[in-house]
């Protein structure tokens, strides 16, 4: 019997006796190994690290720049950015040697000590401003609006990075209730919208969006409130064609409406306001939609 043989570097350098013995016993057994004429390292040096450090370059550079600019904390709105930065920060704190290694092999500029802090805007609103202060600022409570908070994945996972309990979050519910809205909930609130698979399995995203929207409608929701721009894109563009789509709001827009700000300033055009008005025959929202530029 003849077989192709991949030796690997260690066998050739520090375990030659093992190779000699192996070849010897195989010869006795009538088996011949033919060394691959050209081969490379199996790559263990890289796989042993367990971390793909290249993908940490961009977020670590952001954090290093933050410190170089003399700042400690930075606020971000995007769930994706928050998650990526917070995880890189976690790496910097728990495995500083990896950051040093990356810095040393990439020409400097990634010298980061883990002392920065990444805040999601929801952190800021919940923990620094406080829901009580938000409630106090409300001018036009969203009394007749029934909302379905959608969390998706990046805001909550993994534990230790996420803002709230990954399975039973209450953050958006508490926030919406403080605006005077009625909250309905359901099991699909924390399911990923599928954005990761948008290219490979486009149908999956549509399917998930459809199911979630249906759950929200069944629960009596007049709008979906969410935080992540990727989720927003999917919910705004991939709702099933039948019937008018369920309006999709960022939580910031909901807060703005409750504060009595001009919808235009909140990036809500007439079409969106009408959709909201259709969903909610609320006098307050109706007033808002027709009070251009009027803030309280």
């Amino acid at each position: 019997m003849q077989l192709a043989y991949y030796p690997g570097c260690t066998i050739k350098v520090s375990a030659r006796e093992h190779e000699r013995a192996a070849l010897a016993i195989l010869r006795e057994l009538g088996i011949a190994l033919r060394e691959m004429p050209e081969w490379n390292c199996c790559g263990v040096v890289h796989t042993l690290t367990g971390e793909n450090l290249i993908r940490q370059m961009a977020p670590l550079r952001v954090l290093a720049r933050l410190r170089q600019q003399g700042e400690r904390e930075a606020v971000t709105l995007c769930d994706m950015c928050f998650n990526t930065l917070a995880r890189a920060n976690h790496l910097a704190r728990t495995q500083p040697d990896q950051v040093s290694a990356l810095n040393a092999t990439s020409g400097g500029g990634l010298d980061y000590d883990g002392a920065g802090e990444v805040l999601h805007l929801l952190h800021l609103l919940r923990d620094r401003v406080g829901l009580a202060a938000i409630r106090k600022r409300v001018r036009r409570p969203l009394r007749d609006l029934v909302v379905y908070p959608y969390y998706g994945c990046k805001l909550l996972r993994p534990t230790g990075i996420g803002l709230d309990d990954p399975e039973m979050p209450t953050l958006l519910r508490d926030l919406m209730e403080s605006l005077g809205a009625t909250v309905v909930e359901g099991s699909l609130q924390t399911q990923c919208c599928g954005a990761y698979l948008a290219v490979d399995r486009a149908g999956l995203v549509t399917e998930r969006v459809g199911a979630t929207v249906e759950q929200a409608r069944d629960a009596g929701a007049g709008a979906i409130v969410l935080s992540c721009p990727l989720c927003h894109f999917n919910f705004a563009t991939l709702q099933p064609h039948a019937g008018a789509p369920l309006p999709v709001l960022y939580y910031t827009q909901a807060i703005g409406l409750a504060f009595g700000l001009d919808p235009a300033e909140l990036g809500l055009d007439d079409r969106q306001m009408e959709a909201l008005g259709r969903a909610v025959p609320s006098q307050a929202l109706h007033d808002l939609a027709h009070a251009r530029g009027g803030s309280a």
Binding site: I54, R55, M57, A58, R61, A104, S106, G107, G108, G109
Partner: protein
């Protein structure tokens, strides 16, 4: 040189030469006996024809420079890079409507930027190349135009990029879009062009052309001068962004490694 220069050793394409210190790399190559055709151009730091790759003793790094703008060092091991192919598909600038995604559409490979910063470290003009690629990615055409403005298209960035980005072509398109679409056209200029096309100055120019020399000299001597101070205008957009300066010399790495 009035005082005799000390000699340094450089290794040029595998051969050692003793050359006077204080010469630029370009002059040192010529001193060594080369008559260059490739890898040389304006000799003044403007054309980008003389990118040089080199290593220094004691460092594993590849350094980059313009041969006409950098002094030769003892122990330098160098080669000139005559050409970096950066082919781009032809486009019609006049048919472009600038959008945040315009640059990404023409150069989809910029999405592959991993923020490794190799381009910035390699730029002999000291430009924040990665920053302008990142700005391109997020559709900030003005920022790309400003940050890339001092680019001389030597191509070193593109030769070193792990994502195969065509940096200088991205900058060039951004600047052309900015210059054409994002800055208002000059009204004074439009008025003057119409006047010229209507023949407003023809008679007076003809009169000057036919004037006897002595009279023309008199007209010349009688000119009144506008002073610098008569023009008070806010600084142009190109001047709001300070030009970034020369690359950091990664001296610390030399000592550290």
């Amino acid at each position: 040189m009035s005082e005799p220069a000390t000699l340094v050793t450089m290794e040029l394409m595998g051969k050692e030469y003793r050359v006077p210190s204080g010469l630029t790399i370009l002059a040192a190559i010529e001193y060594a006996g080369y008559k260059l055709v490739r890898g040389v151009g304006c000799r003044g730091g403007f054309c980008g024809a003389c990118p040089t790759l080199y290593r220094r003793e004691g460092s594993h790094r590849i350094f980059t420079a313009l041969a006409c703008q950098t002094l030769v060092e003892d122990g330098m091991c160098l080669v000139q890079m005559p050409f970096v192919p950066v082919p781009t598909k032809p486009y019609d600038l006049h048919g472009i409507t600038p959008q945040p995604t315009t640059l990404l559409r023409f150069f989809p490979e910029i999405a592959g930027c991993v923020a490794c910063n190799t381009c910035t470290r390699a730029c002999p003009q000291g430009l924040p190349v990665m920053d302008y690629i990142q700005a391109a990615l997020r559709g900030d055409i003005e920022r790309v135009a400003m940050l890339s403005f001092d680019c001389i298209a030597c191509g070193i960035c593109s030769s070193r990029c792990p994502a195969d980005i065509k940096h200088y072509a991205v900058g060039l398109l951004a600047r052309r879009i900015y210059g054409k679409y994002l800055v208002p056209p000059s009204e004074d200029l439009a008025v003057r062009v119409s006047a010229i096309e209507a023949g407003r100055y023809d008679a007076e120019l003809r009169k000057l052309m036919e004037l006897p020399l002595a009279d023309l000299r008199a007209r010349y001597e009688q000119r009144n001068f506008e002073t610098v101070a008569e023009q008070h205008r806010d600084h142009s957009a190109t001047q709001r962004y300070n030009s970034p300066m020369d690359p950091v010399d990664y001296q610390d790495e030399l000592e550290g490694v």
